[in-house]
Every structure is written in C-alpha cells, then in structure tokens.
Symmetry: C2
Subunit: 152 residues, 2 copies
DNA sequence: ATTAACTCTATATAGTCAATAGAGATTTAG
DNA sequence: CTAAATCTCTATTGACTATATAGAGTTAAT
C-alpha cells in the first residue's frame, strides 16, 4: 500500500502541474484545495524539493513550482522517493537491491522469480507514467464525466 | 514490500508442498531447515490453519500438512491473508475496497486509474501462481543450476 | 501416565506513520 | 531598510504495526 505521504505528494505535484510554470503556488493553497494537512504537506514538498523535483522561493510572492516539465517527472520516481523501492522484496529491486536476510540461495529462489515479474510489471507502468500523462488523463476523465452529466 | 511474516509463511508453505501429503511435518523442522524463527513461525502457521490452508494434528506424531493440493493454493491468497490487499490504494482493491479518505472525486481520480492498472497487473501474476507452480519452477531452477555446475 | 506436539495469552522492543508546534531564515515590496 | 509574507528546520507526539519471545495450557498417541 502507498503511504498517505506518497498520496499527498502525488496530489500536490498534480496540482502544481495543473498550475503550470507560471507564478509560485502557496503551500496553503495546495493544502486547502486538495484538503491535505498543511504542516505534513510542508515536509513532503521539502523532500520533493531537495530531490530536485520542485523549486521554491521564500518570502513575499514566493511559493512552489515544478522544477522540470511535468512530462519529465514519472510516478515511479516520486513513489520511490517517498515510499522506497517498488519491488515487493529487496532482492529484486533495481534501484535498491539488497539480499533477503533469510534467503538460502537466491539463484534458485522461486519467490524471487515471481516477485521479479511483479516488480517489472509495476515498474513498467509507474516508470512510463509522467505527470503530464496524468494531467491529460484527468482532463479526459473530467470531460467524460461532464459528458455523461450532460446526456442525462 | 512484503512483510517478513508473509515471506516466512510462503517459505513454510513451499516446504510443506515439497514434503507432499504424507506424514505431518514438525514446526521445528520447518524452522530449522528454512532458518525461520520458530515461535514466530508458530503464529504464522496457526493463521494459515485457521484460514483453511493448513491442517494440523497435535500430540505425538502430529505436525502440519497442507489442507488442500498445492495447485489450489495461490500466492495471491496467501499474501492477502497475511499482508492484506494487493492493491496499492484501497479504492482499487477488489477484495477489500475502501474509499481513499482524502479523495475528492473517485470517478475522475487519475491516481486511481493508474493504480488500478498496477493492481490488475500484480493480481494477474499472483492469483495465477500456485504453490504447485512454484514447486515446478524450483525443480527447474535447481536443475538449471546443477547443469551449469556440471558443465564447468 | 507420560511424552510429544500444537495452541493460546501475554509481553516486549523497536520502529514507522501521520501529524503538529513553533522558532528561524529568506526574499520582496514599499 | 524594515516589515510582511513565505518557506525551512528541529523537535515532539501518539498511535499503531512489525517482529519477535516466553510460558502455561491443551490434545493425542503409545
């Protein structure tokens, strides 16, 4: 399961992506519009900033913006950053490999073989999906719903 | 990430599947051969038993056996039992649906759409893989490794 | 009866998750 | 140059979960 922290982070990034590269967005605005706990969000945005995903300016007229185009930020990267590796077990992680403590022989471990499949399937989705994709999809979904409403 | 508990449970089941439907296997044997903490393993096996996956007989000559053929026990079932839903967020779980607390509109939530893909991909693998499959694969992997050793 | 095994309750420790408080540092406007 | 706005940093809190372990209780076979 994704942590709340990761979900909040993703929502905040999506909000910032929506807002575009224009003027900085206040933490307070993100928190209010997306209904996220403000103080917790502060910490999350700070992490995303120090990872180079966000940019911020303190002081009057300050706030947060994306540090890079939305299409260069993948969901996989953000989730790994906040929640750690996508892999279900450490011995199949590409980005944070570690042997399983209790494993007797990695080469013949079938749990490992299956979990590698799971990791690869997950990574294939999350590393290919960017925040630009999410924005596109959001617009389409919103239109779809509006269309349904209209047809009634 | 899978919990240690789930990994231990899977290893124990694999060990029991290997052993076949014959005489009961002692907790102590499983713990020693697979190097799992015995007391912790006791609790895990008990859970698997009350879920109907294992059968046990107390007393002299007792121990644990699979309650059903290995080919009818899927990895997905065992993992859900011990660690909970496969879905990365509750609103896309098929077996334990719950709305995300902070979600403003599930119908247009793109995070949900992506996470549904992840869940489906994961479930497709784990719900199709049985302990009989794992046994087969283990034998093949062991032969493969032996073959390589022999050829050197 | 005695032994060998599982079963149950209780406990412990450490760590993580989710969140909050409040003082500090920085920038811009005026 | 100062005041207001805003991000930044440190610390703390409470609840919960993960990972075990101890020991008494129960059951079945011989």
């Amino acid at each position: 399961m994704l942590s709340q922290k990761a979900k909040y982070g993703i929502r905040a990034l999506l909000y910032l992506a929506q807002h575009g590269q224009g003027s900085p967005v206040l933490i307070r605005d993100i928190a209010e519009k997306e209904r996220l706990p403000k103080k917790f969000l502060e910490a999350i945005l700070l992490e995303l900033k120090s990872a180079g995903i966000l940019h911020s300016r303190p002081g009057k007229g300050g706030g947060y913006t994306l540090n890079r185009p939305a299409k260069s930020i993948t969901l996989g990267r953000v989730i790994r950053l906040i929640d750690g590796p996508l892999a279900p077990i450490p011995c199949v992680s590409q980005t944070a490999y570690a042997p399983c403590r209790e494993c007797l022989d990695e080469k013949t471990c079938t749990i490992r073989a299956i979990m590698k499949q799971v990791r690869d399937a997950t990574a294939a989705i999350l590393d290919e999906t960017t925040f630009a994709d999410l924005l596109d999809q959001q617009n389409k979904l919103a239109q779809g719903v509006a269309g349904i409403d209209f047809s009634i």
